[in-house]
Symmetry: C2
Subunit: 179 residues, 2 copies
């Protein structure tokens, strides 16, 4: 679909969607957080066509969310694991999950999130880091001159790759993107 560039846009939502806005991307990420790593694990879990899976896995890898890790040489077999950038996507997944849980299970059974370590039920909400207060008022993003950064914490392992990742993929044979 020749997705409108969106790349140049100076909006954090748009820039985020460039990496994870494709149909399967977020579902793949969900599975990655569940611990799935291998091609066929994703395929079985998602019922996705292998073509698509290849494309999305490559796109997510190029976008820096996943990393290919070799686990078998001859034949080279890779696992796809979350990078720090990918791990940092967790809050988005949590809020999306919570939203779905709140609204789309009207048929008797309810779905809740459970901490795998403690076993406790969790109910994710979004608050401000400093004040701890719920964020529910209107928000806008504004850009700030670099000098004014005070409580900044530009997290590691990120820095955008390049745009139009999608188009390059099909043209390139696999295996060049080594671990």
């Amino acid at each position: 679909m020749q997705h409108k560039s969106l790349a140049s846009v100076n909006c954090p939502v748009a820039r985020s969607l460039e990496r994870v806005g494709e149909w399967w991307s977020i579902l793949i990420l969900r599975d990655a957080f569940k611990g799935l790593k291998r091609f066929d694990e994703f395929q079985n879990s998602l019922g996705i066509a292998p073509t698509m899976l290849t494309r999305r896995l490559n796109a997510l890898t190029d976008a820096g969310l996943l990393r290919r890790q070799i686990y078998n040489e001859r034949p080279p077999r890779y696992e796809y694991v979350l990078t720090p950038l990918g791990q940092d996507f967790r809050p988005v997944l949590l809020t999306l999950m919570a939203w779905g849980n709140r609204h789309f299970f009207p048929e008797g059974k309810r779905i809740v999130l459970v901490d795998l370590n403690s076993g406790a039920e969790v109910d994710p909400i979004v608050v401000d880091r400093m004040s701890g207060r719920l964020i529910d008022a209107a928000i806008k993003s504004v850009s700030v001159a670099p000098s004014r950064i005070s409580k900044g914490k530009m997290s590691a392992g990120s820095v955008a790759r390049t745009k139009s990742v999608e188009n390059k993929i099909r043209r390139r044979s696999a295996g060049q993107r080594e671990t």
Copy 2:
């Protein structure tokens, strides 16, 4: 793209993506949170083809995230405003925005979120409602029998419309979906 059903899937992420997984949907929602309401406002803001905008607006309306509100009869002109379900999507947008801000602005300038009321900079994080602790461990969703619901709070204004919203849209002429 004949998007794989996904409807029957018992996963909150999948069910969420059914409503907002389309390319422009989240961007439209972002603009709706910014206060945009009218067709041409969205069009100017997004640079989206009117065809697409019609489809996405209808899809979001049918999914229950937006509501058409008439503001002019003869000719009937509608505004698209967030429903409670749509408003409740805010946490997802916030975390997505925060993720983008953290990672995709390496070129000097930084973008932060600002509370429109207080003017204070906010840094959205996801915590558990009860404990207030950061959620960063592994999480899974489990379904719970209706009876076991204790601290439940099935929020209002929700309840899913029906599936396969997309396909119906093009077949139907506009104007049947009144306020």
